[in-house]
């Protein structure tokens, strides 16, 4: 159990921010990954289905992070 508790993948999820925080104090959580809202809007507009769903749910879904 212990061997897994803090084990993070070595390949793709080991993050540069983690390294930064490790070396210079501060916490990883202090760093804020920026959401590129414009890119998201672009993506939604690019695909017709996504656009439709988005329009339908416009009021219902409130974009937020959970994890």
């Amino acid at each position: 159990m212990n061997s897994l508790t803090y084990k993070d993948s070595q390949t793709l999820t080991s993050s540069d921010i983690e390294n930064l925080a490790l070396r210079f104090g501060g916490k990883r959580e202090d760093y804020i990954e920026i959401v590129n809202k414009q890119k998201n809007i672009q993506t939604i507009n690019k695909y017709a289905l996504l656009k439709e769903i988005n329009n339908e749910l416009n009021a219902a879904i409130n974009p937020c992070h959970s994890e």
């Binding site: 159990m1 084990k7 959401v35």
Partner: protein
């Protein structure tokens, strides 16, 4: 005891192989793992090296005492229970899930349930500590299904921990990349990582094994380790 329910948001998303590999990773970190096949396809056994001719499972038995006879153990030490070849209804599934609690096993055991995609979560006896992983692929159908699922989750009071996990992700595809970026930044309940599409997952079944044993150097291996680590951090154990 931690219970994990893995299901695809639709059929054919590879939930069985995710369960098999996850079970294997967890077992390798020396916890007790019990995988239970709730899918009438009854193919979980294939991943664990169950002989092809053996078709019986829990659905063939009426009493739970008799079900005990159908538990097998694979070469890595994962204990698993095949489905069998009898048709059952949702109540039977709920029944067997409940019965598994009666098993006498160590406190830190993990139960992995391979659920069929059509199963209604509301019919399962889910508890607040249970984790439901709903597999998705980066395609438009899943996009629509996710939003339907979110709607449903919101309307019913779902007390369990529900997560979406992207399986078979291929970042070279523009659509997949776009969808994944969008989901990751807008969807709640998204797992913060994904399982990469990898030939070895397919191949390993053909070799009667799991990806973990076939290709320890593959990214898939790492992905499952990440998944396991993340689950441990979410678990209530």
């Amino acid at each position: 005891m931690q219970r994990i329910f893995v299901k695809g948001i639709k059929g054919g998303l590879g939930s069985t192989s995710v369960v098999a590999n996850l079970a294997c990773v967890l077992k390798k970190s020396h916890v007790n793992v019990i995988a239970i096949d709730l899918d009438p396809k009854s193919d979980l056994g294939l991943h664990f090296g169950l002989p092809w001719k053996s078709t019986k499972g829990w659905s063939n038995e009426v009493n739970f005492e008799d079900v005990l006879l159908h538990f097998h153990q694979d070469s890595d030490g994962v204990i698993f229970l095949p489905f069998g070849d009898i048709n059952v209804d949702q109540n039977d599934i709920a029944h067997i899930v409940n019965n598994c609690k009666k098993l006498d096993c160590p406190q830190n055991s993990w139960f992995l349930f391979d659920c069929p995609s059509y199963i209604d979560l509301a019919h399962l006896p889910l508890e607040p500590n249970d984790i439901v992983i709903e597999l998705i692929n980066c395609d438009a159908t899943c996009h629509s299904l996710i939003y339907k699922r979110l709607k449903k989750l919101k309307s019913t009071d779902s007390s369990w921990k529900h997560y979406f996990l992207v399986n078979r992700y291929n970042s070279a595809s523009v659509l997949e990349f776009d969808l994944f970026s969008l989901w990751q930044s807008t969807l709640p309940l998204m797992a913060p990582f994904f399982i990469n599409s990898d030939e070895v997952i397919k191949e390993s079944t053909a070799y009667r094994n799991v990806a973990l044993n076939c290709a320890p150097y593959s990214i898939a291996n790492d992905d499952f380790e990440t998944l396991a680590g993340w689950l441990v951090s979410k678990a209530a154990l």
